[in-house]
């Protein structure tokens, strides 16, 4: 369970709050879409939930783990074990093969070497990328890159997937594939928080939260 209380984020360079006193609860295994225009604070909210940045005030707890007071090392462990990030711009290492890109979280989490191959092959099969296992990430198409990024996010079996505009750089066919993939991930019991400004994509979620000027203005279940 993610509990967000009076969450506020003000950037040093900004004249107004990116998030302004947001209260929110997200249950385990829930598929939530956060929508809003550019600058509404949706990415900031995701970064805060993902412990990529710290709030100015307020509190976020994930399964009783307080992200606002945790140490840098604890936050790193949280990112590695509890969350899987999927970004619009993929954030793959272009010089690494698909195999090595997906292997990175396993190495960081200290998963025994013997399990790596099996886990990676299994996850690649799931995202339909088995045939590209030895290809460099830079050689993949946009859709393949995003599927590789999803495989990397899933390989450590985190309970929560954080997807920031995962279809932003994809054509409609690949977007459909990615959204179906996220849906199936959610159906397996993992929580998914999707940031999007695409209303079609948002409909895959069971709950849609709309943000404007750093505040929640609408919530549809």
């Amino acid at each position: 369970m993610i509990i967000i209380e009076q969450l506020t984020k003000v950037y040093d360079s900004a004249d107004r709050a990116a998030l302004d006193g947001v209260d929110l609860k997200i249950r385990d295994g829930e598929f939530v879409s956060i929508v809003g225009k550019s600058g509404s604070g949706k990415s900031t909210l995701l970064h805060l939930i993902g412990a990529i940045e710290k709030p100015t005030s307020g509190k976020i707890t994930v399964d009783d783990f307080d992200l606002t007071t945790a140490s840098d090392n604890d936050l790193s462990d949280y990112r590695g074990r509890k969350t899987g990030f999927v970004f619009q711009s993929f954030h793959l290492e272009p010089n690494f093969t698909v195999y090595d890109n997906i292997r990175l979280p396993l190495l960081i989490a200290g998963i025994p070497y013997g399990e790596h191959k099996e886990r990676i092959e299994k996850i690649l099969e799931k995202v339909d990328l088995s045939q590209k296992i030895n290809d460099k990430a830079s050689k993949l198409s946009g859709g393949e890159k995003q599927r590789c990024a999803i495989a990397r996010a899933l390989v450590c079996d985190p309970p929560l997937i954080l997807a920031d505009e995962p279809c932003g750089n994809l054509d409609s066919e690949n977007s459909l594939k990615i959204m179906n993939l996220l849906k199936s991930i959610n159906e397996e019991g993992k929580g998914v928080i999707l940031i999007t400004h695409d209303k079609e994509a948002a409909r895959y979620a069971k709950r849609i939260i709309e943000l404007k000027d750093g505040r929640i203005i609408n919530e549809i279940s």
């Binding site: 940045e53 793959l92 272009p94 960081i108 990430a137």
Partner: protein, 380 residues
Amino acid sequence: MRFRELCWFAKKEFSTCPFLYAGLLLLLVFALSAIGMTVETFSRSVEAFYDYVNKIGNNQFVCDLYGLQLDDRELIEDVGFSEIYAVDDGWTDPLLYAGEKKLGDDFWEYVGLVYPRKGTDIRTYQGEGFNYTNDDDNVVWISEEVAEKYDLSVGDEIIQKIVKDDSEIKYTVIGLYHPKEYDPDIVFALDTYCFNMLEHGEFVPHHLVGTLTESRSYIGVRKTLRDRYIVVRCEYDEVFDFLAIADIVIYILSAVTAIFGVWMFNNALGIMIRRRMVYLLKLRMIGIRSGSVLKIFCCTTAATVVISFVISRVVVFAFTDYINGLIEKFYQIGITTSGSYKGFLVTLAAGAIVYLFGVFKLRSAIGNVNLSQALEGSRA
């Protein structure tokens, strides 16, 4: 992060950015080689000089202690001389008699003074040798020719007349010898003779000499003696003075090169970190701790420094041998590798300094990473 994972990441770093690390390596090889070559060529040449001096002096490096007399021995007994003895500084021409007959009337006699403890290479064929050390006895050695001419033998007396106070000193002949060319005809024990003359108000010019078994210790002994206001001289004083100055200059040069190396290497590390920032951020986002990131880059930096060190040693050996070969040929002195350890140690120290400053640079670069802000600019 465990060692195995650390090695995996480090290996990936090298294979992902081979040119970046090759540049770092090359830079460091140049700096360390420059330091190593400067110090090693110099120290090997210096060691060769010391060996040369030891060899020609048969491990008896002679230091003249001008101003010190026989009774000043205790002033210098603790400084490390293997031997201390006196040598005369002037012409000795005593008025000697064998009975009533004046020595030197018929032919010119050369009188020598020898310090008994030091001895001489003259060997006696009858009586006591020149290592006779009973200071209380007034003794004299005479050549076979003098013995025959004045009908003297062991146990006979030679009388020295002192004109100044109209007195005389009796010396007993205790040994006869066959003189070689330039050997004196009559030899007195220097200390006995000096003290006898002093009692009669005459001064025999002499000074002390100290010998060192190792010329390398001369600089230290010289400093100790100078601190005691004792003048010490040797045949190679100018060379030692030059070496002392050159030593300082060499180490200053090495320090400047090391500082330049640190500065260049740190700048290069900064460039490397900036180039790898996107990758670093990706790792941070998928859960790596900043300490582990630091470990990875410290590991790659350490490997770069170690490899650079090894290559620089090879370069130094090759070039130093070549340069020393030229010196050997020009100065005709045999240069050994006995000074190599200095070059090794200085290069090692320079490598360690470069690495430590590199770690500080990495710490500040990695520690200052703001994940969210950097995320905005990073696109794969």
